[in-house]
């Protein structure tokens, strides 16, 4: 694909997502929106705003804070919540560590990515949430490509990939047994490019780390890692300054940067259209094994 293409956002995707959000609120008692501060969950917030307008968004956001987030993401989160007058629940992975429920990983690849599942499941149980709305997309990863819009999880948050409920036309069955909950994916059918074009169309604000900026990084395994106090480095890994941006927003310990000069949305879109590497190619958490995502989903990750 070349950047000459004037790619417009397919309106049908917004109509579908709004329908799914309305079904979620109608069919469940306590929905919650899983908010990461990334572009996909920001898109979800916009869709929720539209789905219930002129009413307010009828569910809170839930942010599982690993403590290793980019400070820019947290600042953005607080700004968004204040500006739109949203309810937000924040739960900290540090608390799960302090309670002895999970253990911090060690070594230079240590990350809290896997640990957050426990904090998330505890928060779901505590809040008695029966529907967790997430911004996962099917184009991101091969296990996600298999997931339904309403994806049933058992009491332990597990996804049973081999026994998924059939999902026909746009008819959504949100009936569940006690203890189960559903993960809802309204933007399942969107691609990375659709999200960016939606952000442009809707003039949405996003965290600054998506745009080109100068930052201290190290090079490891052919990827550029953001240098921070949370990253365990070896003596030969010397940080240097470079103009980079992030294509996806996860923790500072599992999200690699891409070298980029793109400081406007149009430039980001042009860059993605020409990119030879996929979006999750910069996600270190996916690289642990071929089935890394499927395994985490089985364990309750969204």
């Amino acid at each position: 694909m070349t950047n000459q293409i004037n790619w417009e956002f397919p309106q049908a995707l917004e109509d579908e997502a709004i329908y799914i959000l309305r079904e979620t609120v109608a069919q469940f008692e306590k929905p919650v929106l899983l908010f990461s501060g990334g572009k996909d969950s920001i898109t979800l917030v916009r869709l929720a705003q539209k789905a219930f307008y002129p009413g307010k968004i009828p569910f809170p956001l839930l942010h599982v804070d690993t403590g290793h987030n980019f400070p820019e993401t947290i600042a953005f989160r607080d700004w968004l919540v204040n500006t739109l007058g949203l309810d937000i629940i924040v739960r900290n992975v540090q608390d799960s560590i302090d309670q002895g429920k999970v253990q911090e990983e060690t070594g230079k690849y240590a990350s809290r990515n896997a640990l957050q599942t426990v904090t998330l499941l505890d928060a779901i149980e505590e809040g008695k949430f029966d529907a967790c709305i997430g911004g996962a997309r099917r184009d991101e990863e091969k296990a996600r490509a298999k997931e339904r819009i309403f994806s049933v999880r058992d009491e332990f948050g597990q996804w049973n990939a081999k026994m998924q409920r059939p999902e026909l036309f746009d008819i959504l069955n949100g009936k569940i047994n006690i203890g189960e909950n559903v993960r809802v994916f309204p933007i399942s059918n969107w691609t990375e490019l659709d999200v960016w074009n939606y952000i442009v169309r809707e003039k949405l604000e996003i965290p600054t780390i998506y745009f080109s900026h100068e930052r201290e990084i190290i090079e490891r395994d052919g990827l550029y890692w953001p240098y921070s106090e949370y990253l365990n480095t070896t003596a030969d890994e010397v940080p240097f300054r470079q103009k980079v941006r992030f294509r996806t927003v996860g923790d500072m310990t599992c999200t690699a940067a891409v070298l980029s000069e793109a400081d406007k949305l149009e430039d980001i879109i042009a860059e993605i259209m020409e990119a030879k590497i996929s979006e999750r190619g910069a996600r270190i958490d996916d690289k642990r094994s071929e089935a890394a995502m499927e395994k985490r989903k089985q364990a309750g990750y969204f």
């Binding site: 694909m1 790619w7 049908a12 109509d15 490509a145 409920r165 026909l168 008819i171 590497i277 190619g281």
Partner: protein, 415 residues
């Protein structure tokens, strides 16, 4: 920009995954890191070629067995349109997943191995495409390289397929036959020159020109209410809007509408899409409708135009595909979900079960098993406002839910 949804099906051996891989590859849709991951995974499996099926078989169990168990959704685009492929399993035991994947498709892509011709799975796939009334059918005769690109062989398969078409109930679809070799890329996105007797379009050329089906805009207007929006704020103190997605047809501001089941009439005051005021809402658009007078309407009710009333059904005759391990039992009560409305429904009778390979009907059945397709009669606890599936698919399908375990156990098409 519009989205064309395609459902593909086939068995491991007919090269479906290679075809999809070829489409993605030739449209530059496989990023470098995914390609590298594929090389590595193929090597680990001891293969001396890059197995493109590993791209779509996303589950560990699928990669182990080399089969497709559940639907994978694949996205790619060309400068003119965006495509979603629902790659569905062809094995009989996963028929329910095939139906799931095909239910939203506008194009059904059937793959036939040129050496083997029409097999049982071709019948099954064709039968389901027919049941769903998918408007476009592309039959790709693959592995032409293994039959020396023989025109006679291709023509024979086309002839066999046409016999199948002659026996089918639904004949409204457009059918296109294309001789291809996914391995060598012949007639997928490009021509290699290996087949000189075929002057038709390649698969991609064909997909690029398929016109979008907007037939549902011409069907009777149906607006199932998902919820009532009542903000009760100072600014919107008296606002009372009905949120929903237009199922079919279109509504204009000023139209006289009836709310079902109450039968109360009113006029459309506004049609709103977030902060925008619309004058018309078409099929598949999510909007909020406000009415002139106060009428009693809530979730599960339906707004229709006074001169286009749907049938009011308490007895339903429908074709269904059974999707659960536990068999369907005559006399049992299930929950029937039609759009966003749920009612109790009792199975009165199983009229027959169809053998999809030869379209024969087996009567006198007292139960239906997993993946069976057949005709049943239901009695509902409250009227369902539906149209026959063949006249208006968007308002003519339903699912059955088992009240004891909450699973979706069947999909039905109203006669």
């Amino acid at each position: 920009m519009e989205v064309l949804r395609i459902a593909t099906s086939g068995s491991v051996d007919d090269g479906k995954s290679t075809l999809i891989g070829r489409l993605l590859y030739d449209t530059n849709s496989i990023p470098q890191d995914k390609m590298e991951a594929l090389h590595a995974a193929s090597k680990r499996k001891g293969l001396d070629f890059t197995d493109l099926s590993l791209l779509t078989d996303g589950l560990v169990a699928e990669r182990e067995q080399g089969i497709t168990i559940d639907v994978a959704h694949i996205y790619f685009s060309t400068p003119t349109r965006k495509y979603i492929i629902a790659d569905t399993p062809g094995h009989i035991e996963y028929t329910r997943n095939m139906v799931t994947g095909a239910s939203n498709a506008q194009v059904s892509l059937i793959l036939i191995d040129a050496r083997r011709g029409i097999v049982e799975q071709t019948h099954r796939h064709f039968f389901i495409a027919n049941l769903l009334r998918i408007p476009y059918l592309v039959v790709c005769v693959n592995k032409m390289d293994l039959v020396d690109y023989s025109e006679a062989r291709f023509n024979q398969i086309v002839e066999d397929f046409q016999q199948m078409l002659a026996n089918a109930g639904y004949k409204g679809q457009e059918v296109k036959f294309i001789p291809i070799s996914s391995l060598y890329g012949e007639n997928v996105a490009t021509r290699t020159g290996a087949i000189n007797w075929y002057n038709g379009s390649t698969l991609l050329e064909y997909l690029e020109q398929v016109s979008f089906d907007h037939e549902d805009r011409n069907h009777p207007a149906r607006f199932p209410i998902q919820s009532v929006i009542r903000p009760r704020t100072t600014e919107y103190h008296d606002f009372r809007g009905f949120a929903g997605k237009v199922a079919s047809g279109h509504f204009n501001v000023g139209d006289e509408v009836v709310s079902l089941p109450s039968g109360q009439k009113s006029r459309i005051k506004t049609i709103e899409q977030f902060e925008k005021q619309l004058t018309v809402a078409h099929a598949r658009e999510s909007v909020v409708i406000t009415l002139e007078g106060e009428i009693d309407s809530s979730r599960g009710n339906m707004l229709v135009k006074t001169d286009e009333l749907p049938a009011q059904l308490k007895e339903i005759s429908a074709n269904i595909c059974w999707m659960d391990q536990l068999p369907l039992t005559s006399g049992k009560t299930y929950l029937l979900q039609h759009g966003v409305n749920r009612v109790k429904a009792k199975v009165q009778q199983i009229n027959y079960v169809t053998d999809v390979t030869n379209h024969t009907q087996v009567a006198d059945k007292t139960s239906m098993g997993l993946n069976d397709i057949g005709r049943i009669s239901l009695k509902t606890a409250a009227p369902v406002f539906a149209d026959p599936y063949k006249n208006n698919p968007a308002n003519g399908a339903f699912i059955l839910i088992d009240e004891y375990n909450n699973t979706t156990v069947a999909v039905g098409f109203i006669e």
